[in-house]
Structure formats: C-alpha cells, structure tokens
Symmetry: C3
Subunit: 530 residues, 3 copies
Amino acid sequence: MRYGHNPTIVGWQIDNELAEPSFDPEAHKAFHAWLQHKYGTIQNLNQKWWTSYWSQTYSDFGQIPVHDAEENPALLLNWKQFVTDTWVSYVRNQTTPIRQHALPSQFITTNTMGWFDGFDGYTLHQSLDLVGWDDYETDWTDNAARHDLARGYKNKNFWVTETDPGFVNWRPNNLAHDKGEVRALAWQAVGHGADAVEYWQWRAALNGQEQYHGVIAGADGNPAPIYAEIQTLGAEFEKAAPALQGTSPHAQVALLHDMPSRWAISFQKQVEDFNPVKALTAFYGPLRHQAGTVDVISPQQNLASYKLIVAPGLNVLPQDTAEHLLEWVRQGGHLLLGPRSGMKDAENALDPHLQPGPLAPFLGAHVSQFYGLVQPVPLSLAQTQGKGTLWAETLVPTDPTTQTEGFYGPSNGWLDGQPVAVSHQVGKGKITYLSTIPDAATLDAYIKKQVQDASTLSPLADLPADIEACLRTGTDHTVLVLINHARTPVTFTLPQAMAGTDLFDPRQAASGQITLPGYGVRVFTLPNPA
Amino acid sequence: MRYGHNPTIVGWQIDNELAEPSFDPEAHKAFHAWLQHKYGTIQNLNQKWWTSYWSQTYSDFGQIPVHDAEENPALLLNWKQFVTDTWVSYVRNQTTPIRQHALPSQFITTNTMGWFDGFDGYTLHQSLDLVGWDDYETDWTDNAARHDLARGYKNKNFWVTETDPGFVNWRPNNLAHDKGEVRALAWQAVGHGADAVEYWQWRAALNGQEQYHGVIAGADGNPAPIYAEIQTLGAEFEKAAPALQGTSPHAQVALLHDMPSRWAISFQKQVEDFNPVKALTAFYGPLRHQAGTVDVISPQQNLASYKLIVAPGLNVLPQDTAEHLLEWVRQGGHLLLGPRSGMKDAENALDPHLQPGPLAPFLGAHVSQFYGLVQPVPLSLAQTQGKGTLWAETLVPTDPTTQTEGFYGPSNGWLDGQPVAVSHQVGKGKITYLSTIPDAATLDAYIKKQVQDASTLSPLADLPADIEACLRTGTDHTVLVLINHARTPVTFTLPQAMAGTDLFDPRQAASGQITLPGYGVRVFTLPNPA
Amino acid sequence: MRYGHNPTIVGWQIDNELAEPSFDPEAHKAFHAWLQHKYGTIQNLNQKWWTSYWSQTYSDFGQIPVHDAEENPALLLNWKQFVTDTWVSYVRNQTTPIRQHALPSQFITTNTMGWFDGFDGYTLHQSLDLVGWDDYETDWTDNAARHDLARGYKNKNFWVTETDPGFVNWRPNNLAHDKGEVRALAWQAVGHGADAVEYWQWRAALNGQEQYHGVIAGADGNPAPIYAEIQTLGAEFEKAAPALQGTSPHAQVALLHDMPSRWAISFQKQVEDFNPVKALTAFYGPLRHQAGTVDVISPQQNLASYKLIVAPGLNVLPQDTAEHLLEWVRQGGHLLLGPRSGMKDAENALDPHLQPGPLAPFLGAHVSQFYGLVQPVPLSLAQTQGKGTLWAETLVPTDPTTQTEGFYGPSNGWLDGQPVAVSHQVGKGKITYLSTIPDAATLDAYIKKQVQDASTLSPLADLPADIEACLRTGTDHTVLVLINHARTPVTFTLPQAMAGTDLFDPRQAASGQITLPGYGVRVFTLPNPA
C-alpha cells in the first residue's frame, strides 16, 4: 500500500531462496489431505503405488509416512509434487495482496537457486512475472546451463538477483575469482538473457555471519580492490543498454529438464556417481559448442520453434508427455533420448512397455536390460572408439526399419556387440535412443552429427574451448558477446557471416582473426542473420 | 493349520532376515532381567565386570545402560548374548505352533545373512531344521567361505534361500554379474552343499522399492536376458539331481569361527583395518586352496573328524572351550592359533595367564606384548621373506621343548629378531601360535606347510587361482564340480586320481588337461576316494 | 580434612581432563545471565553484535540461542568465554575447600589436554598452582610446542600428569612407540620444563574400557616389555635430579597463542584446511630450530624478557592488547604478525581500520583484501623462490617509510606483483606483517632472517632435523638435554660454546663431534652462558 503506486519501484522480490520443506505434524496432515484430494480413495492409492508389495497396504490416508528417501518411489515422487504445490500456495499468499496494490508495470519475482531440486521450478514460476536467480556458480559451462535454465522457466529474459563480487563464505573452500573474471561472468549472464546483474554484498556489515563474504566496499567503507572492475562493468552496461534493449537469445535446439525424472533418478541412482544434473550438462556442453544457443526447458513446454531436442534422462515419461513429443516429431523434429529414458509413468511405476515406455512402439525398439557401470565399457560410435560411462542398456529392435548406430565392445558379456543407439523415422521426424553416456570426446562427435543432421549447426560452432559466443537477437539487429573464460589470451577466427561493429570501440576489427586477452570480453552489433 | 498337513509343502520359512535389535525401554527391562538371572546378585556382576575401575559400580540391575559400542567390554559381550537369546525366543514363538500342526517331513528354516554379526548363528540354528541363507556376495572366495559357514551351523547341507539373478539395488553401486557368472555361482553353491538355489526376484513389481533389482522376467512379463541362463541351469540341476542325492562335502580341516571372539575384537579393534572376518578369510583362502573342503565351525562343535584346525582370532577362550580343544589335540589334532587368540575369558576380561590364556601352559609360551600395525613389518617364515600385517605379538617361550618358527626383521625395536610363531607337542598332537597375519604369499607358504604336516593335502591342491574344485561325497560315489570363476578360459591338469565321468557330456575327457571357458562349469561323477 | 595436613601429600589434582560444556536448559539460563551481566541492556548487545543484519535483533536475553558453530560470530565468541568462566567457577568450587584444609606447601593442579580449545587455559590456570597436562602426542615437534604451551600458562615448570607407556587404545589406530622412544620423550618433557612425568597406566585392569591401553605391568602382574625402559629412566631421573633442581627453560623469543583468535578463525575458516594450531606450529618449528627455547604465551602476558615475538594468526586484536604490544615494540621489540592478524575486535566484529586493526597506523600499511587458497601461489621472499599456502593478502603501504619484503608471482591477478610482507619502525623496535604462510623451506629462511635481525640466534641453531637440544638454566649452571628423535644414529657437531660434562658418564666427550644412537639421549651440565 505504501510503495504499490510508486513509479520508481520497478518490481517486487518476495522472500529469499525458497528451500527446504517442513516435516512437522502440520506438513504430514497437509500431505495426507493433498493425497486424498488426488487419489480419492485409499484403495486407488494402494493400487497406483503397488503397496501390496512389501506389505505396505494402507487402510487410511493418515497412516502414510513422510520421507524424502528410501521409501516407495510413488510416495517419494508425490511428496516432491506436494512440496511444490505447497510452495506455490506460499508464493500466492504473497503475490495476491501485492497485486491488489501494485502498478501493472511492477513485476513480482523471487530469487531461486540454479539446479536446486526441492520443488518444480516450472510449476512455481507460473505464479511469478520474472525469473530471478542467485548465481554463485564457479564453472562457466555449468553457469551457462544455469542461465539457460533460468531463461527457460518462462522462455524470456531474466535477472541475476544475486552474484558475488569476488567470493563467498559458505563453501568449505571459498576461492576468489581471478581479476577480470567477475566482469566476464556478468557479460556471460547478459549474453544468456540477463537484463540485470545484482551483487551481494555491497559493504561489509561489521559483525554477523557474512564477515568473510566478498564485498564491493570494505569494512572501512572504502572501495575494495574489486570496486574498479565493477565500476567499469557499470559503465559498459550503460553504453550497451540501447543495443541490448528488446533482444534475447533464440534457440533451435532444446535440452529437456524434467523435474519428476530428476527426482526419480535421484531416489534410485543404482550407481552412486549417476547424477542427473551431470548427465544433463554432459550433453549441454557439446550441444552449445555446436548449435549455439540452447534452451533448457521442460517437456511440457511449446516445442514448435525447435529442430532438435535432446532428453538425456527423461526417466518419467507419462502418456500425455509422450504424445506432446510425438506430435512435434511427426512435424519434422529430431528427438534424441539418453539412457534411463521412458522407464516410469506419472506414478513413478515401471512402464510395462519397457523403455522408452510409450515411445517404444515409435522407436521400433526397446531396452531389454540396463546395467549400472563403475568401470566404463568400450564402444564405437560416430567414427570414434570410446567408452560408455555410468550406465549402459541393451536395445532390442522390434521393427525392420529401425537403424542401429555403433556397438559395444567386449565387457560383461551382456553388452558385447550390442548396438549403442537406435533410431527410427516417425512422420517427418525421427526418434533416436542412445543407451549410455559416452565419454566427452565421443559425445562431442555424436552430438555434432545430431546437430548437423537436424541442420542446426551454428556459424560459431567449434570455437576454442575457452571462448564463449552469445547471441541476443531483436527485431532489427543482433548483439554478439564474445568472452574468453581463460586466464591467458586466446586467438581465433570470427567468420565473415558474423561480422559486425564493436560496441565500445568501433575502430577495432569485428571479424577475421580476433585475440581476446585473459577474461577479455567484446560486444558487437550485427545485422540479424538471414 | 491350513498347510500343515499338505504334503506338497516341503517346509516353512519363518520371517525374513532377522537383523537389528531393539533399544527401547522394554528391551532394557528384558536385558536387566536376563542379567539378574545370569549373575544372581549385582555384587557378582560388579566383580566379573571390574566395575570398580572408572567408578562404574552398580547398586541395582536397573541402572545398567544399554549400548552396543564404547562401553565396558563385559557389558557389550553380554548384550550380544542377550540379543541372541531374545532372537531364539522369537524364533521359538513361531516354530512351536508350526510344529504342532506340521508334518514330520516339513522342515522349518529362516533366511540368514552370511557374516552378519547381530546374533550367534550357532545358537540360533539349534532351534531350526535347515540352514537357509541369502547370498548376495560378489567375491567368489568370500562366497565359498559363506557357503561353508552356512553348512557349518548344523554340519549338513543347506539352502540358498535368496540370490540375485544378475544384480541388486541396495548397494551404493549395483553392478551386474557377467554373462555366465550367475550359473557359475549357482554351481558353486551346490558344490559347497546347497540343495536348493532360489532367486529373488522372479518378476518386477511395477512399483515399490525394488524396481531396480535384478529380475528373471521383466516389467513386461517376458523373459529378461538372464532368463535363458537360469533356464539352462534348471535343466542341469534336473539332470544332476540323482547324482547329487545323498552327497555332501566332507572336510579334514576346519576354520574356527567364534562369535564371542568376533564381537570382542570388533568392540576393541585397536587398529581400524583389523576386521575379524577378513582375518578369517585371509586364512580360509589358502586353506581351501591346499586342503580342499573346509568346514567353518564353532569351537564348541564336535572336532573328531578333523586333522587340522585353524583359529585365526580366537580372542575369547574360556576354560571349557580350551579343554574341548585340548582333548582333540591330545588325540593327534594340529591346532593353529592366529594372533589375538586366547586373550579374554567368557566375561571378556583379560586372562591373567596372558595369551593364549588357558592354552599358554600347553603351548609352552605366551604373548608378552601385542602391537597393532598400520605399516606391515618384515618377517621371514616358511622359507619366505614377507611381511606381517595389522597385528604382531612378541612370544616368550616358557618350555625348553617349545619350537620357534621364523623371525621378525627390524621395525619398531620390540619385534626385531623375535619369533613369528611357536609350536609345542601336546599328547599326540600339537599347538602352534602364529603372532601376525602374514602377507598373502607368505601365508600361502605357511598354510601349505601346516596342511602337509597334518597330512591333509588335497589331490586337487594348487589348481590355478580362478579355478575352484568342489567335492560332494555320498555312500557310493563322489561328485566333482569344477568352476572357472574368471571371464577368460583357463587350462589346467586334473590328476588321474580324480578321473571320472562328465555328467552332462560323457564323451568329454574328465581327467588330464582340461580347458574351462570363462565362467565354465563341469560336473563329474567319480568313485569315492580310497 | 583427612589428607590436608599430611606432609607426604605433595599436592592435589582435581577432576580429570575438563572437556565438553553442557548445552542443557540450565546452561542456557546461565549464559543469558552472564550476557546480561556483561552487556547490561539487550540494546547494547544488539548493537555490539550487529543483530540488525539478518533480522537477528533480540528483545530479551532469554531469546538468545546457544550454538557453538554457524551462528553470529559475536555469539560464538561470547559462548566460549562464558564456558571458560563456568569452568573457572567449577574449579574454584573445588580449590576453595581444599585450600581451607591444605598445607601451604601442597599445590593444586588438574590435567589439561594440549591444544584442546574448549576453554581459555590462560584464564583457567590463574586459579591453579601448577600446570599439569596429559601428553599423548605422537609427533615430537608438536609435542615440543605443547610442552612450551603448558610451561607458558604460568611461565614456570609444569608436570606431565599422564603419558602412555607405549601406546593408547582410543585412537582409530593405536600404534606403539618404538623401543627407546618412551625414554626419549620423557627426557624431552624434562628438557622443556617438566618436573615430573607420570605414566598411565601402571597395571592392566582385567576388565573395563582400557584393556588395550599400554601398561608397565601386564595382566599377569609381571613387568611388560617396556618395564625395563622405564626403570632405566627412573634411575636416570634420580641421578639427574640435583642438577635439574632449580632450573627451567628461558626464552628470548615468544610465539603468541591467543584463544579468542583461534576460536574466531575456527568459527570462520574460509578454507577448510586452515587450522589455526597448524598455523602456529608452522612458525614454531623454524623458530625453535633457530632461536632455541620458545615461549608459547598469550599476548596479555609480560613481554619484557623477549626480543622477538611472532604472532602467526592474531585474528582478534582489541585496542588494549594492541597497546600492550606497542609498548613492548617501542622499547625495541620485534613483532612479526602473520596472516589474518588484527581483523577483529573484542566482540569478534570487523575492525574498520582494516587489518591489522589498531596496529595498522603503526605498521604504515593495511590489508586491502584477503584470499583463501587451496592451490599455493608463487612468491619470492628471503632470497627464496617459494609458495604461499592457504591464505594470502594484498598489503597497501600508507607511509613512505614502510618497507616491503618479497613479492607474489603471477596467480589470480589480484596478488600478482604485490608485496608479501611489509615492516615499519616503531620507536626502537619494529612491526612486520607477513601476509601468507610460506612453504616450509621459505618460512625457514624467513624466520632465520627474523631471528638474526633480533639478535636471538641460538648457539645450537641449525642442528640436524631429528636432533633436539633443550636448555634448562638455573642460578649457577645450565643443563643441556640432547635427544635423537630418529630410529637411526645421527652425528653432529656440538659447538665449543656449549661444552659441558656428561651427567651420566663424565668420561664421554661433551663437545665436538657427537653421535647419538636411535632415540639416544645425553644430558650435560655446563656453565651458564655469558
């Protein structure tokens, strides 16, 4: 009521880093009510959860325990969905009164936390206007994926609501960013669609838990060494703002990030190093390297703009999601499924079609058996002799037109000589199933082939490993941000097709051979690609 | 009452994997009553437990706490014995009503868990007819020892009540058995005396905690890849059944497995890598390799049929057990004691005779000091320059006829030049005390010497490391099971003395040079050895 | 009352190893009362603790929680000080009645535990007459520092109230001392100022938790192997007693050990391997190697006798402590501050002077930013090319007469080319600030330079690494204890200036080339140095 009509207030951030759920008696009661609403009768729940196995049959919703690990997989998945719905209700308790008093121009956001898996961010962000996230990541490729994750929640630009001016204090080891790296990472955020980068914290509080957290102004109130770097950045942002206005990244390829699938795998990893986020980022890296901009989205989103979709671990694949994907494939889409895909239905129950569940008839093949791996197994794929890591599956073609790709070398006997991947035409598109996570070099080669097949190779493909190119496109021009994420200078060739004008120094060459110093950044404007 | 007189019911399995005890107030009360029954007065308990040390004196049984670690060693050992008695009472609560209604031909069993140390299996199995155990072991030598452990509880054939068709889901890393390995392990079970091998689980339940556990039939109800292997096995078992009927393994050597000793060492390990089961299996391997069939038994069992008994860590050695062993030694038995033997009495108190306690006067030597080791120490034993690992003791001969064997090289000064083992004639037999766990090569050489001295060398000694030979003997013939536990083929010579007939293909050679493919199994019948 | 006037009682040891505090409701109440007494009003506490940050403001002392980690740094430091005061009160509850009945000649002591940080030992020992400590340390250099710590509490000789005759039983791995090492360590204790060495335990109790602890007499009541070594030691002590009488170590250099600083760093380590005790001992080793006797004292103690004081991590540096140090510096003292010094005030709040806080104006420099390190960074210091480990800071000189020493090589950009240390004249003395913990070789070189600059180089500097020389000085003579802490013999030259007479065998050479056998000890008497 006090600030709602104040035009200098651009928006509202509610709460701080929604995180852990409660396990108290009230939460138990709410869970039971939520289950009763969902299943109607306890008999229905018993049937869906297969509680007759291990004598788990309930006669009353009130008997159902609350656990977040080592329980019936159906219970565990429902618990996560209940927690998500509870957070949504919590958010709406705050957004509803704000909207009654706020200007239509004022947005409502909160600050979420990257890959945090405590709730389904796709559901939660339906109740918010703007995605904000707290970026304390240290690896630049993973950071790229997290920015794309943030952008993907609502398929629009986002804010970095917090990031550190140098280092944090809450890790076991709190190492500083190199000189220049903070600026480079801020430009990376912008390149991926951030429209604001906010630093935590401005000046040290003299006491309290964050005395060792990075600051822009020291305990004496004077500029800390990083001040100058952030000052430069501010001036650059001011200069670049008109060019960035109205632009955002646009992708032809998408990576599917499905919370029920992540949860389901995390509940039952089978091999302890199988991390569903690492499985996603293993595919993200080569995909971005070859295809340029990548959207990280949920499988329920609109897929019309994509030519290639990669789903590294789509473990939970209900019928309706499968149909949504199939509709897109039939129109010409290329769908690449990774290992563990299509194993479970919406209740986290095994799909009797065998993997990839409802897509098995369309793939013309199914998985006959999975094998968790600690030692990698030899394989040959995409003209590369490599290794399959963490997981491997035997694929059984069920249609004469199913194509096989690559084969496993000798290991446990079961995999020896079996195909590594199979693919099958569906309408104008195709579905491919890859039964392992290949080592990095083999996966690079394989993803390059997929990207080429789907005609989504970027003109900026195959830049040196430490160079990142980000494109933001508007109605009449494109902004290209080039970043050297290494400590040392890197030289590379920018193709003529991407020739533009340097936004900060128009006299500098903006195509041909370019040298970026360590943590160097250049920003170009160029005509929109044809 | 419903199935008790049904002749198609062969027996009864009660409960599932008896495991952890309760620590609730009722358990406390029961423990106090059990102690009162055992000790009569609190003064008696105080004296036996030496509670005056550390001001632990109790004035009432109700004051005694319940802990399973870091407490008075007497309390800890009594707690384990109380838990055992409580499980016995629990089992009898089930067997008593079953026996009132069951046919005399119906056995009662339960499924125990290998080396699990929560109760004393020798005591528990007195209340059951048949030993059943759940075999989820992955190392074949340890698996061999566990089969012999199961057989030893009642000195008769047993059942494998559960084993996995490929892999399990409850380990941090759940790796699959190689193709052929499941069949090889089933034959190993039979070779060690199993009369049945049952698989968990037959077909995947679509939901519930074991979705990732190995199955014979998949979620679609059709055969999983392992089905064919188990089908072959079933056909082989059917064919072999008449030959196996009435046969079982018979041993001339025994390994003593004493639960009070295991518990006592586990309570007070002194060096963290000292694992009493690993100490047992360190001796089991070479013993089986040289002597063939090994019985794993408790020191209270009938010893008459053995020529050599090895007790690697007989830490708790009460007077009556010592006398039982001495009686057997005097008749010609060779007893080899390992380090930490004979340190404690039945109350887990130090024996003032010093190690090996009541046997010290008969050994003609005692241990003057023990040394826990992290770094192995050099030694010379059985013509081998090797190392002593984990534990070493200085032995002081007290009789001129005591023989010393080997000596320690230079290390901590205390051990330098001291004897590694001593032995002494007792009646027609002898007692030997070995004061360390030698490295594998030295232990092999030393055990071979012991086996030869006791005239128990097997005609199948010294087969290649991956080849296992199991003998089951009946009244009129012997069955020999030969197994290659390696992935790759192994060739070896089967001595003429073991020549027989191949049970599945009588045209194949059953002596002389034999090549077994990876995980290959051959089963022969032969005349009983003379 | 029974023993108070018994002249054969030399003193009283109260309690055993004061250790962990209570967190029960009574402790909460006592903490609240203690805070109220200290701060007067809750507003005052809120202001000092900066509770407005993170919405921690309290309206009542009763709301303040009790934690010993991950809380407001002011709360954490106050908790430790409250616990110290509570232990002091506990000790006085025992000393007051004893003193009412004891002879004036009877001392009161307790047995403390080396670096244990549960309370402030400098405060506690004000209520006791004699320092006693339980020495179960295994590294001889760390043991040396702990003896000096014990001596420093009251700046006088102390007792080793417990040490093991060979080994203990409460570590994960309980390894034995080598033959001869127990004697060598007892002489080390004496060399550092111990006037008694007491062994735990004499004879094994037959039951109870310490069955595996080292003993002098075994379970049979007869001498254990170590008995003879301790018997020899006893005879030596008897012979040496007259010479040792009235002597004690005297130091020209001191190492500051400040409990508030240790606590403050431990609460907020920033890099997990930063251990404030290891930071102290990193400096202790080269300091003792070059300067001989080192006092380990609190910064509040009398400093008049020192020429050089090293404060490796004086993190909490209130104004009054700074003035105490400055007064000594002005008289000619050399003060060497290590990294993390002078960051906090008495409330554990950041000092707005920036590091080293109240000393910054006198140093003519301050720290502009700290960097926690996992990877060491290159540096050049004291003519040595080395590495900075764990921590590095950028130093900004603020006075033209400030001298810089050494510089960092290229690493994170921020440190590149910055000075490693700065120093500044203050009155007749100087303050030096070293901004990292150099690797061992560089720190050796740097400390040697400091020791030389302060004219405190020992005539026994630079002895071989395993040889320790301890000096105890009395009014008319000095006792020199030479110890070889290695297993093997070491030969070295004892300078003529230290020539004396061998206390046990006066015919042996006591200067020039000396060979000590493994764990060898020699004790000389010599005239007091000029």
